[in-house]
């Protein structure tokens, strides 16, 4: 029934009008042109009706709640129990009970390898390279006769490529591809793009919108999604987690708390009045509860448990 389905071209035009009218302050002339467009084809009013209905639906969403929910859903991870189940440790007989009804994690279903929040894993891949995944991370691996391929789907990984295998390693990331043959490198997705640190070997970075760049051993760079590259002065050792620790120097508490939050499910908040306190030391990532206790002893802060998964840190 062609009559109630506007053609793509009308939909595209309606969307262009919507952008001008809703997200901008349109001039009288723009509104006049819009009215002309509306009458210029019998299907235009229908396209406009659908597009503006969609926009009304989106505009009606509670802003704060929606944003938090969308962000939160990206962070959702599998429970530890699902993991054990996948490893076959729990799946004996029909005694799964409630565990079987718990939602499985998407990473487990789709990615070759992944970790839940708070989990770290290391293993040797079939080419002899050593791979470590940090908390809440996922990768895909493909090996062919000509090349080794790795995609960082989410999170953070350290790769120690087997130098005796001379197939190139192609790594796909959100900011563009990288290649190496014999590199030892660390990749971490963050809000600005990707953090890249190289310990050994030659690594070439091909940012999506900038020219290729060689990254040398000892370099730690922040690569923006727009291809911008910055050397970083960090408050922490980016490689710390590969040894199971969070090692920081004069790190503002707010940053420390958000770092720690990566390893814990739920909410971990830091009040603004203590956000600037400085934290130094090396903390065992295996026990984040203990880290919170240590903080309350070494800094003038108090740790409040509103629920087990909602913890806030404020002034003591």
């Amino acid at each position: 029934m062609p009559d109630d389905t506007p053609a793509q071209v009308q939909v595209d035009q309606a969307i262009d009008w919507l952008v001008k009218l809703r997200f901008d302050s349109p001039s009288a002339r723009t509104e006049q042109q819009f009215q002309q467009w509306l009458g210029s084809h019998p299907h235009n009013p229908l396209a406009w009706q659908r597009v503006s209905h969609l926009s009304d639906e989106l505009a009606g969403l509670p802003k704060d709640l929606s944003r938090r929910t969308l962000e939160g859903s990206q962070r959702q991870r599998v429970s530890r129990r699902d993991h054990l189940k996948l490893l076959g440790l729990l799946a004996v007989g029909g005694s799964l009970g409630w565990a079987a009804r718990e939602p499985l994690g998407l990473p487990q279903l789709l990615a070759d390898s992944s970790t839940a929040t708070g989990e770290r894993r290391q293993w040797q891949s079939t080419d002899g390279s050593r791979i470590q995944l940090n908390t809440a991370s996922a990768i895909d691996l493909h090996f062919s006769a000509q090349q080794r391929q790795l995609e960082l789907i989410r999170g953070e990984i350290s790769l120690d490529s087997n130098p005796n295998d001379n197939r190139p390693f192609h790594i796909d990331t959100r900011i563009g591809p990288l290649t190496t043959v014999d590199g030892q490198l660390l990749l971490r997705e963050n809000s600005q793009g990707l953090l890249l640190s190289v310990r050994r070997g030659e690594v070439t970075l091909f940012p999506a919108s900038a020219s290729p760049r060689q990254v040398l051993p000892g370099e730690t760079l922040q690569v923006g999604t727009n291809g911008s590259i910055q050397a970083l002065a960090l408050h922490s050792d980016p490689w710390g987690w590969t040894d199971g620790v969070l090692s920081v120097q004069q790190m503002p508490l707010a940053e420390f708390v958000s770092e720690l939050g990566r390893y814990r499910p739920g909410l971990l908040r830091c009040a603004p009045e203590v956000a600037g306190l400085k934290v130094s030391g090396t903390y065992q990532l295996g026990d984040t509860e203990q880290i919170l206790q240590l903080l309350s002893r070494s800094l003038p802060v108090r740790v409040d448990y509103r629920t087990r998964y909602w913890v806030s840190i404020g002034a003591a």
């Binding site: 997200f23 926009s55 962000e71 994690g105 279903l109 629920t307």
Partner: protein, 171 residues
């Protein structure tokens, strides 16, 4: 919608006979629960009946598993979204908590929005969120992202195009 480019019911029946058992065990190995796997297998065939697809299938198992994968993603996202929603409520003052009835409408919209966001490049996604959820104007978004006005307009149109497809085409 035309019907001559979906598989014929007899073809689906044949597909079902030949591959249903395989699909169930493929799903069971992933979801770990045979009832859940059976449900998903059923849903997969329902989707096959409705999908536009030129027959005959070259690789029926690859086709079936890709549809089943899509269903698993949808379910996972929905559950993740519901949990995130619940967690976010904890931060809201009582008066701002939506009613149970509104909850479902909001979750449906958020689910589509979430799927749309997954299909967008990071900059487009960010521009869209800034404009749609944070209420920034095109000029403000352009300043924030350090791109031109025209780029923001294009990004927003692109994001809305994806939202439109999810809202009306895949329904």
């Amino acid at each position: 919608m035309q019907f001559n480019d979906t598989l014929k019911p007899t073809e689906v029946a044949l597909l079902y006979q030949s591959h249903h058992a395989w699909l169930r065990s493929w799903l069971r190995s992933r979801v770990g629960c045979s009832e859940h796997a059976a449900d998903l297998a059923q849903d997969t065939f329902v989707r096959v009946l409705r999908a536009r697809q030129v027959s005959p299938l070259k690789e029926p198992r690859a086709y079936l598993s890709s549809i089943a994968r899509g269903l698993m993603i949808d379910q996972f996202r929905r559950r993740a979204l519901e949990r995130a929603y619940q967690e976010s409520l904890a931060n809201l003052p009582e008066a701002e908590v939506p009613s149970e009835e509104d909850r479902l409408v909001i979750l449906d919209s958020l689910e589509r929005l979430d799927r749309a966001l997954h299909q967008l490049k990071p900059r487009v996604r960010q521009a869209f969120l800034l404009a749609q959820l944070d209420g920034l104007s095109i000029v403000q978004v352009a300043q924030r992202l350090e791109v031109s006005r025209a780029t923001v307009e294009r990004d927003l149109a692109k994001a809305l195009g994806v939202c439109y497809r999810l809202r009306y085409a895949d329904a």
